[in-house]
């Protein structure tokens, strides 16, 4: 059944409509036919049995009547008491009863006294005994005696009937021979409908009348289950009349009806099938056409528009299909163009792309990424394949649901195929991704060369600064050295002169001065050495104040030389920042150098450091120089862009500053007004665990930087601003 349902389900609509039509037309017809067949069959059976019962009742009454009439007549004959005188009474019996062959009267001894016969002469034989012993015995006790069915000389079935009667004192008897052939013949030859037949069984269960004469005088065979039949008993005689009819013929009329019905059903099925097929074709042709064209469309073959002259739903469906397929083809073409472009971009972007699921499984990667990665590790999680880690990255947006903020901030490093290489690793969530096919796009950029370039730029910039500061350094070192020389020569002279005033206290004073100036030289050269050292990014807690002081010391001479007044304001309790102190020093030196260049001679330089909102440390370098032209503002951080005269600047300063502040995770802002001056603000993330101010003396909330001579480092210079330009970078 299941297989049949599956088979039907797999058929086309046309076949389904056909099956539906045939089933809906035939099943009700068949059910109604079946109902009427069973109803009519049972009704027919009842009617047949009723009819059989009626026929048998009539026949049995007839037979009973025949015998009782005969007995009645014999009784009348006996009661007339005229038997000896007239034969006419006996003749009359013959005349009255056609079936009586002969009438006899026997005396009390059983001998025939008188005979009247229909066929024989009326001569009684001498001492002729007419009764059988059994009948004669019965005559003594019964008033009616039936003999057995027997045959006469012509083979006719006959039966003897007798009654006793008294004539005077003697008990005599009247006997008659009854011809049975008429009864038997009537029963046998009576035409019955539909092969019905009647038979008569005597008291010894012999068939004495049957339509089929071959069954005569045999023991009764009981009717089988294949026959419908009824019986009627004939009292006194103990005969049984049976009427039977084979079921095959009894139900022949309804079977014929069924036969005709089959023809009608077949004709109906044929007609309905034709109608169903027509309907199926009418309704399904458009669907089949659309389906065919849809398959063509699916397989990329050429399609032709479905044309039909109808305005019903199917017609509209066909029109919609035509429009839709046309639009689909157009969009497919556009999509292919897009795809081609995307392929070119994906393969030519120079970056590695990969799709990653929530379980860090890589489902796709572009050829560039495949080339970068080792083939045998592609089945591992993304963090193992790309980062070589054992656990997901700390800031991975896959792990952290707060994706939007950190999606493109994640940086990772990976061992490249050719030695150490540096990659930028960013993860983007895909809002319309197919589940299990990668919900995140990982973008990997090889930034090794960029990093190397940046390092080179930093170093170049540093060397450039060193070059600028070289004369300052020399002068700066020269001063203490001259002082040392003066003190040393004076001391030698006084010793050689044997100055008696030169006591130990004074000598200690001379030596202390020499020592102080030596230390000063050492500090200057140390700063220089430190500044010029090429180093990799090292992270440490750095004290901003110390870095500012070191930076200022490097440019101190230059400021003095150009009579620039320096003001230094560093807040007390300033938090430390995390990063490379030297790099920060390079930034501040660059900014001061730029400020100095902007002021040329005389001016005011303010270097300040303060805590900003408790989350960042803000360092500001403000000059009173000529400011930056508005048109140059957009290009300030571009490498090799400079507004300085040829030979004075490399154009790398601000670009390097920008890169370094980026590495700190901070930002740099330039606010400039032409002819008034420029303020550069650096904001660095504050490290709250350690307060740099702990090691910084700060009494009045602001520290003062003093020069090596104990003079105040705070210098005041004239400043002037008019136009304001501002640029903000991250």
């Amino acid at each position: 059944m299941r297989a049949l349902i599956d088979f039907l389900h797999s058929q086309t609509i046309r076949n389904k409509v056909l099956v539906f039509g045939v089933v809906m037309s035939t099943i009700p017809l068949l059910l109604i036919s079946l109902f009427y067949y069973s109803f009519v069959k049972s009704d027919l059976e009842t009617r047949i049995l009723e009819k059989q019962h009626l026929v048998l009742e009539n026949l049995s009454r007839e037979i009973q009547y025949e015998f009782s009439q005969t007995f009645q007549r014999i009784h009348v004959l006996a009661s007339l008491n005229l038997l000896n005188e007239k034969q006419s009474a006996l003749y009359e019996l013959l005349q009255q009863s056609e079936s009586v062959e002969e009438v006899i009267i026997v005396d009390d001894k059983g001998f025939v006294e008188k005979r009247v016969s229909r066929y024989e002469l009326n001569i009684a034989g001498d001492n002729e005994r007419w009764f059988t012993d059994e009948m004669w015995f019965q005559l003594q006790t019964h008033d009616r005696v039936y003999g057995q069915v027997e045959f006469n000389q012509y083979g006719q079935p006959v039966m003897k009937l007798a009654i006793p009667f008294y004539e005077g004192e003697s008990k005599k008897a009247i006997g008659v021979v009854v011809q049975l052939q008429k009864i038997i013949g009537k029963i046998s030859s009576m035409r019955q409908d539909h092969s019905s037949y009647i038979y008569l069984i005597d008291d010894k269960d012999r068939v004495i009348a049957h339509q089929d004469y071959s069954k005569l005088w045999q023991k009764q065979t009981s009717g089988g289950q294949d026959e419908l039949g009824v019986t009627a008993e004939i009292e006194d005689l103990n005969w049984v009349l049976v009427m039977e009819q084979p079921k095959t013929t009894a139900f022949a009329p309804i079977n014929r009806m069924l036969q005709s019905g089959i023809g009608a059903v077949a004709l109906l099925i044929l007609t309905v099938s034709l109608i169903s097929v027509w309907a199926g074709l009418y309704f399904t042709r458009p669907i089949v056409s659309i389906d065919r064209e849809m398959n063509n469309l699916k397989q990329g073959r050429k399609i032709s528009p479905v044309r039909m002259k109808r305005t019903d739903e199917l017609g509209k469906l066909a029109d919609s299909f035509n429009d839709m397929s046309k639009e689909l083809l157009e969009k497919s073409r556009l999509l292919e163009q897009e795809k081609e472009r995307l392929d070119v971009v994906v393969n030519g972007i120079g970056a590695g792309l990969a799709l990653v699921t929530k379980e860090y499984r890589i489902t796709w990667m572009n050829p560039i990424l495949k080339g970068w990665l080792k083939e045998d590790r592609l089945t591992l999680p993304c963090y193992a394949v790309i980062g070589g880690e054992n656990a997901p990255c700390l800031n991975c947006p896959i792990t952290c649901p707060d994706l939007d903020k950190i999606a493109d901030e994640v940086m990772k490093f990976k061992d490249g195929a050719n030695g150490e290489r540096i990659f930028r690793h960013r993860v983007f969530p895909l809002n319309h991704a197919i589940e299990e096919e990668g919900e995140f796009l990982v973008v990997l950029e090889d930034i090794t060369e960029q990093k190397q370039m940046e390092e080179t730029m930093i170093q170049t910039d540093k060397l450039s600064a060193l070059g600028i500061m070289a004369s300052s350094f020399a002068h700066e070192v020269n001063n203490p050295l001259a002082t040392i020389n003066v003190y040393a020569e004076d001391l030698i002279d006084r010793i050689q002169a044997g100055d008696e005033d030169l006591d130990e206290e004074e000598m200690e004073h001379y030596l202390r001065k020499i020592k102080e100036n030596t230390e000063r030289c050492k500090r200057i050269t140390g700063n220089l050495l430190n500044f010029s050292r090429k180093n990799d990014w090292t992270e440490d807690q750095i004290r901003v104040k110390e870095i500012i002081e070191n930076s200022v010391s490097l440019v101190e001479h230059q400021l003095k030389k150009q009579r620039i007044q320096l003001e230094l304001h560093v807040d007390r309790g300033l938090p430390a920042v995390i990063g490379d102190g030297l790099k920060l020093m390079q930034v501040i030196v660059n900014l001061i150098n730029n400020a100095v260049d902007a002021m040329e001679s005389e001016g005011k330089l303010i270097v300040s450091a303060s805590e900003s909102n408790g989350e960042a440390v803000s360092i500001k370098v403000t000059d009173s120089g000529h400011g930056i032209p508005a048109e140059a503002m957009d290009k300030l951080f571009d490498p090799f862009f400079t507004t300085k005269p040829i030979g004075k600047g490399t154009g790398l300063g601000l670009s390097v500053c920008y890169g370094i502040i980026q590495q700190f995770g901070g930002n740099i802002t330039i606010d400039s007004k032409p002819s008034e001056g420029t303020t550069v603000e650096i904001q660095l993330p504050a490290e709250r665990t350690l307060k740099a101010g702990q090691g910084v003396e700060n009494q009045a909330g602001k520290s003062e930087i003093t020069d090596g001579h104990g003079n105040s480092a705070q210098e005041t210079m004239e400043v002037g601003y008019d136009v304001s330009n501002k640029i903000v970078s991250r």
Binding site: S88, Y91, S99, S117, Y154, G185, Y213, G263
Partner: protein, 335 residues
């Protein structure tokens, strides 16, 4: 393609079913029954046969009769037998002894096997048509009209009806076997009854002439079975009326024509009775298994006018049981 195959099979099945249905409603062919009669006067048997079959439930549509009437021509009957056999009917009903004997001879010659029902003939066993009354065997069965065996009884009835009879002239046909057998029976009875008889052979032309000359008062005539004698009935009636002679015929029609009485089975009832055999054979019984029957009834008919005109004394007891007919008043009776 599948749809085409489906329609091919569906159409084939549908057409087959329709043909099958038409076959189912096709009517049955009627039964062909051939009827042989030597002369017109046996037509009554055919009428009885038709009525009997109708009463047994056979409609006219179901049975088709081919009736061959030889008009008392013994030569013609043979021709008609050949014609009938050529038509190969399902069954043949013969309406008398001569027809049955000729038919049997022809069928034996040609080795044809068609069931035959004889609608009343005298002494079939003695004529060799059947082996036994109870189981006839062969293709023949029917009604033994008992007219041979009953001949003695008829003599007794005649002499009992008119006790004054001294001699009985017995008209027989020496060319008809049944007639001869009947004469034998009559002789035996005459002997038992003590009645003198004078046989007269109707096959010779002199028979009636002789009777005209010899019949006298106190004498009577007994007619024995023979189709030839049946055809002489009018002449015999003329003789008995003229001579005032009591005569006993076989058939009621003889009494109707003017004989004093008749005692025997009527043509009509023999034909009617024969319908039972026809029905039994049509229902599948073999004729050889159907016992030969005696007539269902014997009619004792007395012509009232003849009785009154003869002027003799009658046995009132017998007259009491006789079926009196008045042909002139009734205009003839069929039974």
């Amino acid at each position: 393609m599948k749809t085409k195959w489906y329609f091919f099979f569906l159409t084939t099945i549908a057409i087959s079913a329709i043909i099958y249905a038409f076959l189912g409603v096709r009517g049955e062919e009627p039964v062909e029954i051939g009827v042989l009669m030597i002369g017109e006067n046996r037509y009554e048997k055919f009428t009885g046969l038709e009525a009997g079959l109708k009463d047994l439930g056979y409609s006219a549509k179901e049975v088709n009769f081919t009736v061959m009437n030889a008009h008392d021509d013994e030569v013609l009957i043979d021709k008609q037998i050949d014609e009938l056999l050529d038509k190969k009917p399902d069954l043949i009903v013969t309406l008398g002894g001569i027809e049955t004997q000729r038919l049997k001879a022809r069928m034996d010659e040609e080795n044809i096997e068609i069931p035959v029902v004889f609608a009343g003939l005298a002494a079939p066993k003695e004529l060799g048509l059947i082996k036994d009354y109870k189981s006839p065997g062969g293709l023949f069965t029917g009604i033994n009209n008992y007219h041979a065996s009953i001949s003695g009884k008829r003599l007794e009835m005649l002499t009992s009806l008119v006790p004054a009879i001294d001699r009985v002239h017995v008209i027989y046909d020496s060319k008809i076997d049944v007639s001869k057998l009947s004469l034998e029976e009559t002789r035996k009875a005459a002997k038992d009854l003590g009645v003198a008889i004078s046989p007269c052979d109707a096959s010779s032309k002199e028979c009636l002439d002789t009777l005209w000359k010899t019949v006298d008062d106190g004498e009577a005539i007994l007619v024995l079975p023979s189709f030839r004698i049946e055809s002489l009935t009018d002449e015999i009636v003329e003789l008995t009326e003229e001579k005032k002679t009591p005569a006993m015929g076989l058939y009621d029609f003889e009494a109707e024509k003017g004989l004093l009485a008749s005692y025997g089975s009527s043509f009509y009832s023999q034909g009617y009775q024969a319908s039972r055999f026809v029905s039994l054979i049509l229902q599948g019984n073999k004729p050889g298994e159907l016992p030969v029957e005696l007539p269902d009834g014997i009619r004792f008919v007395v012509n009232q006018q003849t009785k009154d005109s003869l002027g003799v004394a009658y046995n009132q007891d017998l007259l009491h049981i006789a079926e009196l007919i008045h042909p002139e008043v009734q205009g003839g009776s069929k039974r």
